[in-house]
């Protein structure tokens, strides 16, 4: 009996040690340093939502130990373990609740050879508006052609829970690989969503009102299956680009790779009838990246006017003239009742400035449009010259978004459901791996300093070797399991049928300029 008692006490002690939080003492004596500490990820002076996971960071200063003190309205919390600052999730939640609409002061102390050093404090501003609790992305090694392991993952950003939505290993065989890409949701919800699978067990997985079907969107009348998708916000239709895409490789340039289309069009897929029809299929236009405005009254897209000089090898020609491909921003009105599109309107003439636009996204309040803009081409994830730009939809004024761009590639911007948060892919960490960055977008149309998606281990991004492609906000998690997707993936796809429609076009074939410009 005595032994049992000892055992229970021992167990309790172990539990208490395990459950207790390590709150190190702030050093009593230190020398002040007049600069902010070098921390990774860079979280100084960022604006964060009140429901974000702990902003753990590593202190990258010379020294063997650190202490970080977080203070807000008289409440103080200290953390520090070696060179890492790992915050307790529950305490962080309480702190954020208190700091909502205000700020958290962070003081960092580092123990160096000759004692403790206190760095200049910095702040984390806590916004009033919450962020959507889930995001999803494709995790992919920044490879070029090979794709052994690809997964689409969802992350609860109020904590550190990450799950696979789908993983190509569930169906892939050694002989037949499978590429998965382009996850897309209707209105930030997951009951209607889609993603593509290519090569092995190819097809598009459509989740329509929570049931899954696999579609082959390639028809004899279209140049490929659907590629870049855009769910209509109210109608059961998805706009896609269809693309013939190729890749070639820089022998010396830092960008390393160019991904370019030799042909591309736009199609509309009716989810109910499995019919596909043309939206735009002009001979000398490379249309791509469709996106709807918040009401679904307009379909925005990018298009490059492109005339081949050599009729024999388009692939070879575009490889040599790749930096002449310049994408403008266009739109077409959409009649939700008849599912008919209006004429093409030029929205933003980037080509005239020798610039090129891709990946447009309209804000949920229809007031702004974000897109990536670079020197040429459309695959800006590999272009260090690409940045995030914003258009004021009322004035058509375009400006580079301040506070969120870097000298490396920024691409794939997207809005949260309340329009107060922007997320995009950035390669600023190392120029090679795309990471998800989030920035607050205030009521005045200004973006605040962006922060990297927090991870439990602050050194995670150093040791992790996959890119976060196509980050998307979701207000709820995907509940269909990867195994359920895999079961459908193994089935034969339903073949979409082509429905011929009259396609209106007003693009000037010689210049690419639209006859009909939007009234400014």
């Amino acid at each position: 009996m005595e032994k049992i008692k000892y055992l229970v006490v021992l167990l309790l002690a172990v539990c208490m040690i395990g459950c207790s939080n390590n709150h190190p003492e702030v050093p009593a004596n230190y020398v002040s340093n007049d600069r902010v500490p070098n921390i990774f990820p860079e979280y100084t002076e960022v604006t964060i939502p009140a429901n974000i996971a702990p902003m753990n960071f590593a202190v990258r200063e010379v020294g063997d130990n650190c202490v970080a003190r977080f203070s807000c309205k008289g409440r103080e919390l200290t953390y520090g373990d070696g060179k890492n600052v790992i915050i307790d999730e529950d305490e962080w939640k309480d702190l954020l609740a208190e700091a909502k609409g205000g700020e958290i002061k962070v003081e960092v102390f580092v123990h160096e050879k000759d004692g403790w050093k206190a760095y200049k404090p910095f702040k984390m501003y806590v916004a009033e508006e919450d962020i959507d609790p889930y995001i999803s992305y494709r995790l992919i090694k920044p490879s070029y052609v090979a794709y052994e392991m690809l997964s689409m993952n969802q992350r609860n950003i109020t904590n550190f829970e990450e799950k696979d939505i789908y993983n190509n290993k569930l169906v892939q065989t050694e002989a037949v690989g499978q590429c998965v890409n382009c996850h897309s949701y209707r209105n930030f919800k997951t009951d209607n969503m889609q993603f593509h699978m290519r090569q092995g067990f190819g097809g598009t997985m459509i989740v329509y009102n929570n049931s899954i079907k696999k579609i082959d969107l390639k028809t004899d009348s279209t140049i490929s299956a659907g590629v870049y998708p855009a769910w209509h916000p109210t109608e059961d239709v998805i706009a896609y680009s269809t693309n013939k895409t190729g890749q070639s490789f820089h022998t010396k340039d830092k960008a390393k790779i160019e991904v370019k289309d030799t042909e591309s069009d736009l199609i509309l897929y009716d989810v109910k009838t499995d019919e596909v029809s043309n939206i735009s299929c002009l001979k000398d236009e490379l249309e791509v990246f469709p996106t709807w405005d918040a009401d679904g009254n307009y379909l925005y897209f990018c298009s490059a006017h492109w005339e081949y000089l050599d009729t024999i090898s388009h692939e070879s020609e575009i490889m040599h003239r790749y930096n002449e491909v310049l994408y403008n921003l266009y739109r077409k009105s959409f009649n939700a009742k008849t599912h008919e599109f209006g004429p093409v309107e030029l929205v933003y003439d980037a080509a005239s400035k020798h610039r090129s636009v891709s990946l447009p996204r309209v804000s949920p309040d229809n007031k702004y449009m974000l897109f990536a803009e670079g020197d040429f081409g459309c695959f800006h994830v590999w272009h260090p010259h690409a940045d995030i730009y914003i258009m004021d939809m009322a004035t058509q004024e375009v400006r580079k978004v301040e506070n969120i761009n870097s000298s490396e590639s920024e691409s794939y911007p997207t809005w949260s459901s309340n329009g107060r948060w922007i997320m995009f892919g950035s390669r600023r960490d190392d120029g090679n791996f795309t990471r998800a960055y989030i920035a607050y977008f205030d009521k005045h149309g200004n973006a605040h300093k962006a922060f990297e998606l927090p991870q439990k281990d602050p050194n995670f991004y150093t040791f992790q070797g996959r890119s976060y492609n196509r980050p998307e906000f979701m207000i709820e998690p995907v509940l269909i399991t990867p195994q359920e997707f895999a079961e459908v993936a193994k089935q034969e796809p339903i073949h979409a049928t082509f429905k011929s429609t009259k396609v209106s076009s007003n693009i000037d074939g010689s210049t690419g300029a639209s006859i009909q410009q939007i009234n400014k």
Binding site: K141, P142, S143, Y144, V145, A146, Y147, E148, M149, S151, D164, Y166, N167, K169, L170, V171, Q172, T173, E174, A175, S248, F249, H250, T251, K252, D253, K254, K256, I257, E258, M319, H320, Y322, D429, D430, G431, N432, F433, D457, N459, F460, T462, F463, Q464, G465, T481, P482, Q483, A486
Partner: protein, 611 residues
């Protein structure tokens, strides 16, 4: 009887020493370069994403010790000898029966030395240890389970029923828990363990407490993977029962021969589980001393002959590994020395390494064709070896095509997992391209390994101090060959040798080194227009004195007034052709006389193997 155990142990240890560090030293060093162990949470979690991930993680940890091939070999031998002892205990292999225990460990030895070029295509980066550790764990688990079950057998005879039930509960619990945890941690080895436990303890004479362990065992083997599949996303349902089983597949081709050692182990443990209830193999095998001796000799003979036969002893394969290491360490003279030893029929990788060394020694124009410049396809059976996988990054890097070196390091990482070799190459490329943050990422990862900390620190120093970098022989090797300007957009179609050759042959050379290389590679392509263009470039920068031998030889071909040597070559050539010999036969006949000249290459080598 102890003597037999000692003889068996000593013979096997000697055999393993000969087969591993003695015969496969360079291979074992390459093994750890094709593996990777990074201490830390992220690496571990990545490995644990599949059943058996823990085993791979442990395997990766141990494999890094092949950095010192003797050390890694010693660790493996200890694991095998421990396995031998536990096997003997578990299956009651006493006396001469002890020899039988050699079967699985010899199979494991074979599974390591028979890989050959699969080294580049294997996806389990801890393979070289994980299977041996898997077997050891399997056999230990069976042993522990036997001990638990044994207690229930003993107690049947007594009156203490509650104890019987307690041990029965323990045994059942062990079986279920092992099936779950064993599967999670050790994959197929865990399941095999459960099956062996069930078979071994299934009594032919049903007792009141234990009779048919096979039933719960089979139930566990069937049910556990199908349930746990729901928690994993990294494998197909139909693969759930074989997760981690070594299958050597390239496209549609499966090299089952390499899986044979594991089939042997499966057959062995299942067979032993069935027959081990006779308790003592010794009695059932042979009773006479002479018969024992013969049995021992036969067993030992078989256990020596089979590994010797399995060993992938292709000289080119081993030479390539030594060449790659010498290239990486910029030991150019060693590259030439190694090549000269195997220059009768080298592979194209060896030829490319040799040419790289000649460039760096300033001897390309002098010796490129004098040393065999026409390689063969690697001897790899049905496995299609691609140069881009085996040496692509290395060759691209040292030929100044750093972007392509980086690309193929990444592509190979995606296909076959991140290894030390690739990580080092990625770091090299990032340092070269002055992508400091990226370089630091790779360097930090290398600093988290056991044996590459020093290498990583050196690179870190180079980043901090550019003059350190400029003094580095690697910098001096790559620098003159890098193309100037912004470069261009291109595709190599995965053919690195063709790409490197044509890249040089069509180059607009910017310095004397490039001029000489461009002429030589144009000569390799035997494109007269191209050769003349590159000769013009060469002579525009180079004085007419001290022109290398091969360049003089091509000039001799194009000149109207030929040298005596070339006239003699032409005379011999025409004489032999006139006698009705085919071009191939003439080439063979003239080879001993002219093999060191470009003339011989120009006239008789009409194609080169690419892969």
């Amino acid at each position: 009887m102890k003597q037999i155990q000692i003889i068996v142990t000593v013979v096997f240890t000697l055999l393993a020493i000969i087969m591993l560090p003695v015969m496969n030293y360079s291979y074992l060093y390459a093994v750890q370069e094709h593996s990777l162990f990074i201490s830390g949470h992220t690496f571990m979690m990545e490995k644990l994403s599949v059943p058996g991930g823990l085993l791979e993680w442990i395997g990766c940890y141990c494999t890094q010790f092949f950095y010192y091939p003797w050390l890694g070999s010693a660790m493996l031998i200890i694991i095998w000898l421990t396995s031998l002892c536990v096997t003997a205990k578990t299956f009651h292999l006493n006396g001469i029966g002890f020899c039988v225990g050699l079967i699985p460990i010899c199979a494991l030895l074979c599974s390591i030395i028979d890989l050959g070029y699969w080294l580049y295509y294997i996806n389990n980066l801890g393979y070289w240890f994980s299977e041996s550790i898997g077997y050891l764990i399997l056999i230990i688990s069976v042993f522990v389970f036997s001990k638990l079950v044994e207690k229930t057998h003993r107690l049947q005879e007594g009156e203490e029923r509650w104890r019987d039930i307690f041990y029965l509960g323990c045994s059942s619990g062990f079986l279920v828990v092992w099936s779950i945890l064993g599967y999670i941690a050790f994959g197929w080895w865990g399941l095999l363990g459960s099956l062996v436990m069930g078979i071994k303890e299934t009594s032919t004479k049903p007792s009141p407490y234990v009779s048919l362990w096979i039933l719960p065992s089979l139930a566990c083997v069937c049910v556990v993977p199908s349930i746990l599949y729901q928690f994993y996303t990294h494998f197909r349902f139909d693969h759930a029962w074989f997760v981690g089983f070594p299958i050597f597949q390239q496209g549609n081709f499966v090299d089952w021969k390499l899986s044979v050692p594991f089939f042997v182990i499966i057959a062995f443990v299942l067979t032993m589980a069935i027959i081990s209830r006779w308790h003592c193999m010794e009695n059932s095998i042979c009773k006479k001393k002479s018969a024992r001796f013969v049995t021992l000799c036969v067993f030992l003979g078989i256990c020596i002959i089979i590994p010797l036969n399995c060993n992938f002893s292709d000289e080119n394969f081993h030479s390539e590994l030594r060449l790659y290491r010498a290239v990486e360490e910029c030991r150019w003279q060693d590259v030439i020395d190694e090549f000269e030893e195997h220059q009768d029929s080298p592979t194209q990788q060896m030829v490319m390494c040799k040419n790289l060394a000649l460039i760096n020694l300033g001897l390309l124009g002098e010796k490129m064709f004098a040393l065999n410049n026409n390689g063969v396809v690697p001897n790899s059976g049905k496995l299609k070896v691609s140069m881009i996988v085996t040496a692509g990054s290395l060759l691209y890097y040292y030929n100044g095509l750093v972007n392509y070196a980086y690309r193929w390091a990444i592509e190979n990482e995606v296909k076959h997992g991140l290894s030390v070799k690739q990580l080092k190459m990625l770091a090299r490329c990032a340092v070269w391209k002055d992508e400091v943050a990226l370089a630091m990422k790779y360097i930090t990862m290398l600093r988290s390994t056991t044996f590459y900390k020093k290498w990583a620190k050196q690179r870190e120093k180079m980043i901090a101090n550019i003059s350190d970098y400029r003094d580095n022989p690697e910098y001096n090797a790559v620098s003159p060959l890098e193309i100037s300007g912004d470069g261009e957009l291109d595709i190599d179609n995965g053919q690195c040798m063709e790409y490197i050759i044509s890249n040089y042959a069509y180059l607009i050379p910017q310095n004397l080194v490039q001029c000489e290389v461009a002429v030589c590679y144009a000569m390799m392509l035997k494109d007269d227009e191209l050769i003349k263009y590159q000769l013009e470039n060469y002579y525009s920068r180079h004085s007419i004195e001290n022109v290398p031998k091969h360049i003089l030889e091509i000039v001799d071909i194009y000149n109207e007034n030929h040298t005596v040597g070339y006239q003699k070559f032409i005379l011999d050539y025409q004489t032999k052709l006139g006698k009705g010999h085919t071009l191939g036969e003439v080439g063979k006949t003239l080879k001993p006389l002219y093999r060191t000249t470009y003339w011989w290459y120009y006239y008789f080598v009409n194609d080169f193997a690419t892969y």
